[in-house]
Symmetry: D3
Subunit: 123 residues, 6 copies
């Protein structure tokens, strides 16, 4: 029965992405069919067309993965973003922002400027 | 002389952003005028119009800052993104991607699936 | 003399763990016998039976290592946890919690809800 | 309609946890009812009784949150763990493991010992 | 008896540092006298005069704390470093290195250049 | 033209470092000549002689890279530090501080001691 549940997710991954293979990330999750199903369904919803362009979402995914140093995730989402049309220039500009953000995050973490009242969150 | 160098950067920040104030991040950097100047000039280049939309860049900045837990940076770049037109729906969708990426990054870090040959980087 | 200090730690590692080999982590620390000894003795105390079950402690170790993306640590503590009886189902459920925590950590970092008074720490 | 969806999640949170209030984390997520619903339902499944003890899961949540430096998450999950019976001694022992893991993670990251064949993952 | 153990550590902290007060970090650790004692004794050894200058060690501590976003640690070790003579110029130059390292770490994490043979670790 | 810009940076890297080769990090950045140039020039300024000793700066770089788990950066800056004369004893002592800081950072993140007034930042 677990096998059927796994198979159903694999089929949905391939149908949704219009590919004929399943990448290794899903195969390691298949040790827990409920985790596999929950993770895939959440990912499918989160990455579906919405208020943001699909390529923008893949670029945000790369930004987080590079920041966390996740090798598998960086490779897989860079491949997805290229498939969606990310150019070499866009990739490099994305990384320039990621690098800059990581730099200023640490300057702010060390010097701890008080949050300006103009930046106060939701009123 | 340091004062003049600082003043010149402050003026450029206000002129570039079309605002009449300088936020606290730059004021704490002003303890080292060379660091202030270098950081501002790099940021100005990185965030200038290029291969990516300016709002996309601010959203990438938020993604990194939320991942790193930098309070000041999250507040300041959320404010910048809203000023560039980020809607509530876009903000929440951005965070959905950031949350999902942080989740799958750790699943991949723990289970270490081999990188699929299809994802191999630049040929 | 350094050799003797290293040898004494190696012997204690093997005796404590009831194994006849020393893993590579300790061998790289042996370049500094004082660091080797201090780290091993702290680890031995921290991981000894106490208020928490030994397997629970290994699972906490995995949670931190996956979050930090430490490859060596994830491998070695997953092996230790399996030796203490961690089942496949427990491993996957552990990772489900780790993934979820990393997701909600970033949602909280970005949206910065005020800490509810009910959660206020030690009175 | 969004209001109804939010209300339904709030009701489920209060019913599941047997409390009469909703903490601020869910209120900030309510800006995106789909994200709120997806996150709550995933959390409910992940934290439900399973192969691991509920208190063990809360302790794993604390371990990740302390590692990531998420203030809100540390407070809220420490409160949950205490409610489930975590003693002061267990809390401190948990943190001793978290501290030790963060220490050895960095020693391993810097010295990069090769992964011992004995630790090789799933056959 | 726990009280006596705690008192002995407090006395050693004050004697070692030649101050007449104990900072809050040690007070929260005192909930677990063994953790308090172990952490203090390890810290005392690690920060004692050795192959590196004491001020260099405090600056390394700040570098790690800023990278991890630990507010308490950044404040306390910045205070310690200033007491050891860290000038404003040294502080700002330290942060310039920390910022730069965090930037290039992420560029390397995303682009994954192969490690040059010239950089191969210990022969 | 991009080729010329890249060549000029490569020449400056080799001249500044007095070596006859360029390491892979710069080659992956060369996909974006402006990013390559900006990153190199910032790095050259940041790592130039100043208020801190050049070897101290390389050790700070290692501390950040080990904390972030950046494999390439750890290898390359360890090599640079050894070239500047870092002894084995200094390397191990550096890592002892890095490990200790990562440990206490998490204890502070979990227990959240209030910042002592004596540590209050710049007046």
């Amino acid at each position: 029965m677990a096998d059927e549940a796994v198979r159903a997710v694999y089929d949905d991954i391939m149908a949704t992405r219009e590919v004929d293979w399943v990448n290794n990330f899903w195969k390691v999750l298949a040790h827990d069919p409920a985790l596999l199903k929950r993770t895939w369904e959440a990912l499918k919803q989160v990455m579906a067309p919405g208020a943001l362009d699909p390529l923008v979402k893949e670029m945000i995914y790369i930004a987080v993965s590079a920041t966390n140093g996740c090798e598998y995730c960086t490779y897989s989402h860079t491949a997805s973003a290229r498939k969606l049309g990310m150019s070499e220039a866009q990739m490099m500009e994305l990384l320039a922002v990621v690098g800059m953000a990581n730099q200023t995050n640490r300057l702010a973490n060390a010097l701890r400027p008080p949050v300006d009242v103009q930046f106060e969150p939701r009123p």
